[in-house]
Each structure stands twice: as structure tokens, then as C-alpha cells.
């Protein structure tokens, strides 16, 4: 602390300082002074919290959309259900609009137009990210369901099982294995995209870095620090996903 103040004073006065002294001062004021590391830590907690909320919402929406759209597409000709057709139409619009507009624009509209009066920026952010992720997750799940060989559905139905049971016992268990790697990828994208909610005032990791940078008039240390934290988080989850996938594959061995 005293060391920091002494060197900081030297730098402010324009006295010659070596690289180590500069690094020490800038690092100290970016992360340690006034317990700033707590801001980053709170930011990371918010980041993870938003990621988990958005992922949960995304998966619920995604499963819903994928099941309705797949069921609609697999109806027998001449036995089309108009209610299913109606919902399929709505969900198609949802997927098209969400995938067709930038995430940043969606956040601005949700945060500054639809929920303009809300002060709970984190929840608005999580909601927006969840709705966004749902559209992509839906396509991931739909792809997984379609990747299961058509013969599996035929075999189930030819035994007299109904559509629901065939889906539940035959198709979905096989689809999950195909879906997981892509879903893991979606999780990583989501984790990084939480940084966008800082633009509507969500106090996550990037928000913390930005406010420190503004206070110190020194952007490099806070932003590079935030980047390293994101990188470490993603590396950690990639590693965990790898373990999980290897465990799933173990059941394929002959």
C-alpha cells in the first residue's frame, strides 16, 4: 500500500520509474486499491448467474419450440392439426425474428423500450439472452431429433407404440447424444454474450472493468484482466464438457 502510494506519486510527478514500478502501480490501482477485486468478483457472479438463468430459459423455450415444430412436420398428410399449425407458425416467426436481428439490438429494445421503466437490468438482460438463446437451442434440438434415423420412428410405430411414447423412449434418448456438443457450444457463446448486458446497465464482469477503467483513466489493465477471466471461465467449462461427453461415449463401447 505504502509502496503503491509512493510509486504512484513518483509517476504523477513525472519522475523516472522503471517497468516493474509502472506495472505494480497500474495493476494495483486496477485490481487491489479500494478492494476493486470485489467489483470484478461480483461481476463474475452476475455473469454466471445470468448465464445459468438464460441457459435454463433457452433450453425450456428450445425444447418447446423444437417439439412443436417437429411434431408439426411429422404429421401424416390429411391428418393435420390446425392448432399445431397455428403454434408452428408463431414459433417460426419467433425463430426468424430472433435469429435475424443482432443480439445488441434486441438488448437495446428490451432494456430501453419494452422494460424502460425497470431498474432490474440483470433480470431484463437474462430474459433477453434466454429468449435469444431459445431460438438457437430450438434449432439445435430440432436438428438432433431429425438426425435420428427415420427407421427408428417407423420401428416404434410399427410395433403399435404411439407417437409420444416413440419420441420419449426411442427418439429423444438418441437425439440427446447428438445434441450435447452443440448445446455445450451454445453455453459458451451465452457465457460470453452476457458481457453485452453491460450496455443496458447490467453490473456484470465487463461493467466492472469499464467502471474501473473510467475511474483510473487507464483501460488496459481492467479490460485485459476481464478478458483473461472470460478466457479462464470458458476453458474451465470446455474441460468440464469434455469430461461429460467422454462419459456419455463410454456407453457406446462394444
Amino acid at each position: 500500500m505504502e509502496q503503491f502510494l509512493a510509486w504512484k506519486a513518483m509517476m504523477a510527478a513525472g519522475e523516472p520509474t522503471n517497468l516493474w514500478q509502472q506495472f505494480y502501480v497500474l495493476f494495483y490501482q486496477a485490481f487491489i486499491e479500494n478492494e476493486r477485486w470485489l467489483q470484478y468478483l461480483n461481476g463474475v457472479v452476475t455473469t454466471l448467474y445470468v448465464t445459468v438463468l438464460a441457459l435454463a430459459l433457452g433450453i425450456i423455450l428450445g425444447v418447446l419450440v423444437a417439439v412443436v415444430r417437429t411434431a408439426h412436420d411429422q404429421q401424416r398428410a390429411g391428418h393435420r392439426n390446425p392448432v399445431l399449425g397455428f403454434f408452428n407458425g408463431i414459433l417460426k416467426i419467433y425463430v426468424t425474428v430472433i435469429r435475424g436481428t443482432p443480439m445488441m439490438v434486441q438488448l437495446m429494445i428490451m432494456g430501453l423500450v419494452i422494460f424502460a421503466s425497470s431498474r432490474n437490468f440483470v433480470m431484463v438482460g437474462a430474459l433477453t439472452l434466454g429468449i435469444n438463446s431459445g431460438a438457437y437451442t430450438a434449432e439445435i434440438i430440432r436438428g438432433g431429433l431429425m438426425s435420428v434415423d427415420q427407421g427408428q420412428m417407423e420401428a416404434g410405430r410399427s410395433l403399435g407404440l404411439n407417437y409420444k411414447d416413440t419420441m420419449r423412449f426411442v427418439i429423444i434418448p438418441q437425439a440427446i447424444k447428438a445434441i450435447l456438443p452443440a448445446l455445450g457450444n451454445e453455453f459458451i457463446v451465452l457465457l460470453k454474450d452476457t458481457s453485452l448486458i453491460s450496455v443496458i446497465g447490467g453490473k456484470e464482469l465487463l461493467y466492472a472493468a469499464r467502471s474501473v477503467a473510467a475511474r483510473n483513466y487507464e483501460p488496459m489493465y481492467p479490460y485485459v484482466g476481464a478478458a483473461i477471466v472470460y478466457l479462464l471461465l470458458v476453458m474451465l467449462f470446455t474441460w468440464l464438457l469434455g469430461i461429460f461427453e467422454r462419459r456419455l461415449r463410454a456407453s457406446d463401447r462394444r
Binding site: 401424416r76 398428410a77 390429411g78 391428418h79 434415423d149 427407421g151 427408428q152 417407423e154 420401428a155 416404434g156 410405430r157 410399427s158 410395433l159 403399435g160 407404440l161 404411439n162 411414447d165 423412449f169 426411442v170 434418448p173 438418441q174 457406446d252 462394444r254
Partner: protein
């Protein structure tokens, strides 16, 4: 037992079945032969509505199964089907493959289904595979399991869609043996196949299909011994 009246099926512009009428009696063993693309498989798949007919009627035990109001799941429970590519469920054990449908449809309790499954497995010589997975089996073993899976539903009729076409030659025999055994029990069987030897030995009636219609039919002796139609003669000359 099954009455097919003027059955038609089109895929878009392509008309695959151009009016097929047939009557199949209980206990009858019918073999369908013909060049590829002639509509044999489509005809078979229409019988349990895996393909929706574009026209005509299929009467199964007095019920018109093309009627949209009919519960097709109930009908399919009485019609076993065996596929060219086996279509076993890779995510469950052999035993579960066999017992899933009888248990879920309420035909049997889990215990009864497992007992029956093991007995059927014994009949096809695969009782030691009950707890294995499909990936651990050879093609011939898979197809024998697929037959057992269909039989466990106590079907009234068995439909075979080229059951030996995807097998290595040395495995064809073991599957045909199971089918011959089944024929001896008096099961009604409708079989699409390229195994002319099997057709000759097992069939009560052989149907020769070409270009969406049944060109010729009769006992194996009639169709193989003295085909009347030119198209039948040409086909048999190529395959025999």
C-alpha cells in the same frame, strides 16, 4: 383376413402403386417378388399405414384401416413388421427392445413380457444376448432379434420388408431358418424378398409385381415353373 381394394399410392407426380387388389387369408404365406422400384415395399408399407395410401381401401379383420377415425396404433399392434435395416433401438438392451412395446401398450406386465422375451430369444438361439446392446450383434443376430421383437406383440400377421437384403451372405441362412420355423407355426406372413429359394419353399402364393401392378400370381410351382407373362419370364431369367 386382409382385403386390399384398388390400392393406389403416389409420391408427388410419381405413381408407385397403380391399383392393387389382393385378398390374403389367415395362415397364408404370400411372397412378393419383382424388380426394384416395382412398388413391392410400398405395397407392404401401406398395409400398416407406414405409407398413407392415396386411394383404395385396406380391410383388416373387417375394419377399413384407411378410415381416418380408426386407431392405427391398435391395428399396428396386430401387424408385426420386420425391416431391411433391422431398426433395433440402439439406446436400449435387447431385452428392453423386445419388451418396450408389449409393456407400454398394456399388452403384458413387465414380468410376463420379460419371461416371454427370454423364451422367444431361446427359440432363435440368442438367449445369452438378452442383456447386450444391438451394437454388439452381427447383422443376422440383429434381424433375428427384430423378428422376436415383432413376435412378442402376438401379431396376427407378420410383414417382412426384404429382411435379408442388408445381410452378409453367410448370415442369410440363419434368418431364413427363423422365418421358415415361423411359417410352420401357421403364422400369416407377407414377405417381400429376393430369396427365390425361400419363396419356392415357403410360399403358398407368389405375387410378381412390376411397375405398380401385380402382373402375375400363383403357387410357386406355377410362377417359377411356368410363368405366363413375358415380364415375369424376363425377371426370372435374370435372377434365377
Amino acid at each position: 383376413m386382409i382385403d386390399v381394394k384398388d390400392l393406389r399410392k403416389s409420391f408427388g407426380e410419381l405413381e408407385v402403386l397403380k391399383g392393387v387388389s389382393q385378398h390374403i387369408d389367415k395362415g397364408e404365406r404370400v411372397v412378393l417378388i419383382g424388380p426394384s422400384g416395382s412398388g413391392k415395399s410400398t405395397f407392404l408399407r401401406c398395409l400398416n399405414l407406414l405409407e398413407e395410401p392415396s386411394g383404395g381401401q385396406i380391410i383388416f379383420e373387417g375394419q377399413d384401416i384407411t378410415d381416418p377415425k380408426i386407431d392405427i396404433n391398435k391395428i399396428r399392434q396386430k401387424m408385426g413388421m420386420v425391416f431391411q435395416h433391422f431398426n433395433l433401438f440402439p439406446n436400449m438392451t435387447i431385452l428392453k427392445n423386445i419388451t418396450l412395446a408389449p409393456v407400454r401398450t398394456g399388452l403384458m406386465t413387465k414380468e410376463a413380457a420379460e419371461k416371454e422375451a427370454r423364451e422367444l430369444l431361446k427359440r432363435v438361439g440368442l438367449e445369452d444376448k438378452a442383456d447386450g446392446y444391438p451394437a454388439q450383434l452381427s447383422g443376422g443376430q440383429k434381424q433375428r432379434i427384430a423378428i422376436v421383437r415383432a413376435l412378442c406383440m402376438h401379431p396376427e400377421v407378420m410383414l417382412f420388408d426384404e429382411p435379408t437384403s442388408a445381410l452378409d451372405p453367410e448370415m442369410v441362412g440363419e434368418v431364413l431358418d427363423v422365418m421358415k420355423e415361423l411359417a410352420k407355426t401357421g403364422m400369416t406372413m407377407i414377405c417381400v424378398t429376393h430369396e427365390m429359394g425361400f419363396a419356392r419353399e415357403v410360399a403358398d402364393r407368389v405375387l410378381f409385381m412390376d411397375d405398380g401392378v401385380i402382373v402375375e400370381e400363383g403357387t410357386p410351382a406355377e410362377v417359377f415353373g411356368a410363368p405366363k407373362e413375358k415380364r415375369t419370364q424376363e425377371f426370372l431369367n435374370k435372377v434365377l
